[in-house]
């Protein structure tokens, strides 16, 4: 009985938090997108003096990049610099 009530409360809390979780995640993702742009702006033609160094992060972001271009509505990577799929 007590377990069921606890489960119910957990579900209820989750219901209330659901739209809220989406907003937080979206905000964080927008920040990530901006960060990605700052790192690799050179690839889309915006001069970036530290590109040489940021390129070192390339292996770490390759998976995120794949998600990013899918999110932006491109089924395949549009940049010749990054070939992920």
């Amino acid at each position: 009985m007590l377990d069921n009530i606890k489960k119910l409360i957990r579900y209820y809390e989750e219901v209330l938090e659901m739209p809220h979780r989406t907003e937080v995640a979206r905000e964080l993702r927008d920040q990530d997108d901006l960060f990605l742009l700052l790192l690799y702006s050179e690839m889309i033609g915006i001069p970036n003096p530290v590109y040489y160094y940021t390129l070192e992060l390339y292996p770490h972001i390759i998976e995120d990049f794949h998600d990013w271009h899918l999110r932006m509505g491109m089924d395949k990577s549009q940049l010749t610099g990054i070939r992920c799929c």
């Binding site: 989750e14 659901m18 739209p19 809220h20 989406t22 907003e23 979206r26 993702r29």
Partner: protein
Amino acid sequence: MNAILVAIIGLGVFVLGYRYYSKFIAERIYRLDPNYMTPAHKYKDGVDFVPTNKFVLWGHHFTSVAGAAPILGPAIAVYWGWLPAFLWVILGTVFAAGVHDFGTLAISVRNKGQSIGTIAEKFIGRRGKILFLFIILTLVLMINAVFAWVIANLFITYPASVLPVFIQIPLAIWIGYAAYKKNMKMLVPSLIALAVMYFFAVITAEVSWLQIDLVSYMGGEGAAGLFGLGAVSTAFMVWIIILLIYVYIASTLPVWKLLQPRDFINSHQLTVGLLILYGGLLLTNPTINAPATNADADTSWLPLLFITVACGAISGFHGLVSSGTSSKQLDKETDARFVGYFGAVGEGILALISIIAVVTLFSSVDDFAATYSSFNDANASGLGNFVEGAAILAGGLGIPTAVATTLDTSVRLMRYIIAEIGSEYKVPSLTKKHVATTIAVVSTAALVLIPEGPNGFGSGGYLIWPLFGTSNQLLAGISLLLISIWLKRQGINYAVTLIPMIFLMFMTLYAMFVQVFFEWAWYADGSNLLLFVLGAIIFVFAIWIVITAIQALTGKFDDELAKHRNDE
């Protein structure tokens, strides 16, 4: 007639509808497949596409679709007696709303979780999509105008409700701050906030100086107000302006600062309200004294009943939620039955208690006849009657705050739609946040302040309700049409969606035609040019989209569309 019996009959039909009819639709019509990879898994990104437990998703879906409209519509529609409203809520929920909400969810899941507007573009072309957007835009505009009017009116009629509603704002900001900066859980703080609000509601009802009664500040109802207006009209104008300023700020702030924590508090209110009302019904065991049918009605129930009940039975707005968010979070395709169909049933349960709360308010048939003496009176006093009836069942329900949430959510939505139309027509300035919000707020103000009612300035806001009902029902009809096209292309029998679609479209266009050309037109008795123009625009859009869609349904359009695609 015993009210508990009526509630049991209604709930019984809902149970049967869910148990058998939705099962039939799930297996034979929409053909849900437990192994189908839903968009939540396929495009999983942790933001929009997240596989979610079906009970949680249902809860979210239900709290998104349940607002004040399913309460307000039936409360007005009991004007024709409780039986017609009851029957349409019950049958409409089982055979139309359930099929619609469930169908929009299913079609969206099978189309990459896209919204119904995008699906419209796919099935009936770009023109279809833009027409669709315009109908949604008018719908949202109507929602804004109706709710702005409703809140201002409630503040004037029940001055005790002002403080509890406004106290929610600092509480919500505090919760938002606590949750984001201190990483606190929201459940407990929001429950405390709710308790504080209820405490204030009780206190302000008792202590008269806490009631913010603008009319009495100006010297009572007969006194003169500002700009040569009466006291009531001035109070109305002041509230509308305050509300719209508030709404402007609320809908441009980041969501977490105000809107989300407020949603939290209001979701509690919805749960608590439903529990208390049905509990109150069991304990007080009231009798329905209102007549089953109203023989003295000055307006025929056909076809107006269907657009008046609006969201209480079926709502196009649900399709936007189903295809906008819920479809992206469905864990298994078979969950669509529970989330979509049972979501519609939840709304039906809310509409049912609204009918019961209103009709048990009256002590005799004469009492009912005095309050619902004409259709206009029914429109003007519907929500007030619900608040009083609910107060008897429960000792008050937080309607004003729920209405306020609907208002600022829908202004936000309107901003998005204006932005989308802006980008569709390549007018970049429309896509700017403040430009779009200003347009939304100003057009709402114009719509709510312009119509002149019987009691002067501001008292005619309820005239917009039929327009809201029509655009809402039209949207539902169009979504059902899209689902029919989708089913037809798969070679499945689509009678289940086609029949409610024809019924809905026929009733809505019929009602629209009668109102626009015989009531609002310049040559009619109660002519109102603003309503005539708005109504005529929606009417033309609707006819246009129906023709385009019927072409698509009969297949003539397919070749044309294919050719067009090849050209591209």
